[in-house]
């Protein structure tokens, strides 16, 4: 792979990751969030393939396939199933308006660039680490401000995608066993949260978690 092509591909995939993360913040449709997550998973798989092929790893296509299957197919399917069971496709009004959310998202991306000083690596992939960090911060932000259980789940998956991006950009990924285990864990978390969401909806008639405030001191 020529260095130019490598840099272009890296720029395209990381750009797609960032764009899908940011578009998640914009808009209130749950189905759109899930679709964006699927696209993001595909972009992540492309990133894995690019970095892996450039480094000459023989198992790069396998890992990329694993990432694609889990993050682009299985997880969005599980979320879509939960959304359908709960019967909600649009989110109710969140605590902060969309414009504020978007500005804060821009600020968080900037923050990711500022704080990622010690983590930047020497090569092109290492320079792209702030993208992964901004995905992490955006995932946190979404977990914080959104009121629907399903968008909180989407925020968590965004967080996880960001961490996966950082892992592939800094060290070419983790051993296959750990990747498998981590994917399994995330899948199980999504499934469990899906079940809890359904139970939540049966208990209180809707899937908003803003009213879960009974237990406190």
């Amino acid at each position: 792979m020529t260095p130019e092509l490598y840099r272009q591909l890296l720029a395209t995939t990381t750009g797609a990751l960032l764009l899908t993360a940011v578009l998640q913040v914009w808009g209130r449709s749950l189905l759109r969030s899930i679709a964006l997550l699927a696209v993001q998973g595909a972009a992540l798989a492309a990133l894995v393939l690019t970095v892996g092929l450039h480094a000459g790893e023989p198992e790069a296509p396998l890992v990329a396939l694993l990432v694609l299957v889990v993050k682009s197919v299985l997880l969005p399917w599980a979320m879509f199933r939960s959304a359908r069971l709960v019967g909600e496709t649009r989110e109710r009004a969140a605590q902060v308006s969309t414009a504020v959310e978007l500005i804060v998202a821009a600020g968080l991306t900037l923050l990711a660039y500022v704080v990622s000083g010690p983590i930047l690596g020497p090569d092109a992939a290492g320079q792209a680490v702030p993208v992964g960090l901004s995905l992490v911060l955006l995932g946190f932000w979404q977990l914080l401000v959104r009121g629907s259980a399903i968008t909180q789940l989407a925020g968590f998956l965004l967080l996880d995608n960001g961490i996966a991006a950082v892992s592939f950009l800094t060290s070419g990924g983790l051993p296959l066993t750990v990747e498998l285990g981590a994917s399994l864990d995330v899948l199980l978390v999504v499934l469990i949260l899906g079940v809890l969401v359904v139970r939540l909806q049966r208990q209180q008639g809707h899937a908003d978690i803003t009213e879960l405030r009974e237990l406190h001191d």
């Binding site: 070419g172 285990g181 809890l196 209180q204």
Partner: protein
């Protein structure tokens, strides 16, 4: 020898599959206890084995049992046995088919084994996340809105916290490239630590410890703990408080060893001191206002975890050895207390402290262990917690951390007062215990559930905690070996 690692991993998994497959049978409730017993026996056997011939490595280098792992495994087994045995439903009560419950508990034990015997930090992370997942359903199984809320908070906060730890581990892997190929093996990381990039190591270590501190219930990331531990069924609460928190602490110790070897002890010391003192403060402040006794026990767990964090911050042989012994003592006592709390709640039908009076008088088989267990939690002699708490404080002073540890003593005293007051109100206060079957005519010794098989786990646990402090000599060698396994630079 390697079989001693595979046994506690595979057998509980098999039992879990069995429990899930035959989930309608009543005898499935014995499966978790069998799994716990296997873990305990394997742990003790491993302790003996590794002291004789050094660490046991298996599974293509991914699994490794050194004295520290063996000790943790024994702690996990012991606490699990007490918790699950004591948490068995009363004979004669109709329990709904609990095969899935039993399967989840067995899976939990297998995941705990994997977490303590993994040499690869990533695998350790996977195992700890797996425990979140298995306990999530167990917490929600209490039914009702509060249990659901507790489970939701637990999963979300737990998963997020553990995700931060994953970010830290990913960065550790990146940092490890400074010494060769990227690796997550703890032994290799410890070897390479002095040559790794300090800034990256700092960030990675801080993030990992932050993530695992969330799992250990250290303030300010403790918000999920009171809810989850109070809403879960009693044996599950005991397991979570005794086992899960200790293993999260073990993970912190492992990461701390690597970071200290690389950049010196200051960073971890500051992080753990802050977490420990904040946890003590939170617990001391909130125990006085508790109205639910299970929540009270959860805050006591936060307090003890804070103490463990302070011990880890102090470092050195005395502190770490005391820390490890404290894990055992606290685990046993907390499991007992939760078992008793479960029995009290099924007796009085209420979770509130205000609804429980005069236990010592009315039901001494519940009241006296409860009082004794509370004494152990408060760190009164002759219980082992007295010795370990004193040891940690002395170690802190001797390492020059006078001011933080003075503050810790003050906060411990505050917590002492709060917990003592609540427990005394429950056990010694006047008033009638509201019997669920309306019978205060039943004499205490013939009350259902007060027979010897039911009292046994409680008595064993409390007895062990009372005796352990004096059995330090035989244990000293084991503990010191476990401390040395951490890489003894400190």
């Amino acid at each position: 020898m390697a079989a001693l690692i595979w046994l506690p991993l595979l057998l509980p998994s098999l039992l879990a599959a069995l429990g899930f497959g035959l989930r309608r049978r009543r005898w499935t409730m014995w499966l978790p206890i069998a799994a716990a017993a296997v873990v305990l026996l394997a742990g003790i056997a491993l302790l003996v084995a590794v002291q004789g011939s050094g660490a046991v490595v298996t599974g293509a280098g991914l699994l490794r049992a050194d004295p520290l792992s063996a000790w943790l495994l024994s702690v996990v087994g012991a606490v699990a046995v007490i918790s699950l045995w004591g948490g068995l439903p009363e004979p004669g009560t109709e329990e709904r088919a609990g095969g899935v419950h039993a399967a989840l508990l067995c899976l939990f034990l297998a995941a705990m084994t994997l977490a303590v015997t993994a040499d690869n930090l990533g695998l350790m992370w996977v195992a700890i996340e797996l425990t979140t997942i298995t306990t999530a359903f167990l917490v929600a199984s209490g039914g009702g809105r509060n249990a659901l809320e507790a489970a939701w908070k637990y999963v979300v906060l737990g998963a997020v916290g553990v995700a931060i730890a994953f970010l830290g581990i990913v960065l550790l892997s990146a940092a490890s490239q400074g010494g060769g190929e990227a690796t997550l093996s703890w032994t290799l990381l410890l070897q390479r630590a002095p040559v790794l990039d300090p800034a990256l190591l700092r960030v990675a270590g801080a993030l990992t410890v932050l993530g695992f501190a969330t799992k250990a219930g250290l303030a300010p990331m403790h918000a999920w703990l009171p809810d989850a531990h109070s809403q879960a069924p009693a044996p599950v609460s005991g397991l979570m408080s005794g086992v899960l928190l200790s293993v999260a602490c073990y993970a912190i110790l492992r990461v701390q060893a690597v970071v200290d070897a690389g950049v010196g002890p200051e960073l971890m010391r500051i992080l753990l001191l802050t977490g420990g003192l904040l946890s003590l403060a939170v617990a001391a402040g909130l125990v006085l206002t508790q109205r639910d006794y299970k929540r009270l026990l959860a805050y006591s767990s936060i307090e003890h975890m804070g103490l463990l964090a302070l011990g880890a911050a102090a470092g050195g042989q005395l502190a770490i050895a005391a820390l490890l012994l404290h894990m055992l003592g606290h685990g046993l006592v907390k499991a007992t207390m939760f078992v008793l709390a479960g029995r009290i709640s099924s007796l009085t039908g209420s979770h509130r402290i205000a609804d429980v009076h005069g236990l010592l008088q009315r039901r001494p088989d519940l009241g006296s262990p409860f009082l004794l267990g509370a004494a152990a939690l408060l760190g009164l002699p002759p219980f082992v917690t007295f010795f370990t708490e004193v040891a940690i404080v002395v170690a802190g002073f001797s390492r020059g951390l006078t001011l933080p540890f003075l503050a810790a003593c003050g906060l411990l005293l505050l917590g002492f007062a709060g917990i003592a007051r609540q427990v005394l109100a429950m056990t010694v206060g006047a008033g009638r215990v509201r019997g669920a079957a309306g019978g205060s005519a039943a004499s205490p010794s013939t009350a259902p559930g007060s027979g010897w098989p039911r009292r046994a786990p409680v008595v064993v646990a409390l007895g062990l905690t009372a005796v352990l402090g004096f059995a330090a000599w035989p244990l000293a060698g084991t503990l010191l070996a476990a401390v040395a396994a951490l890489g003894g630079v400190r």
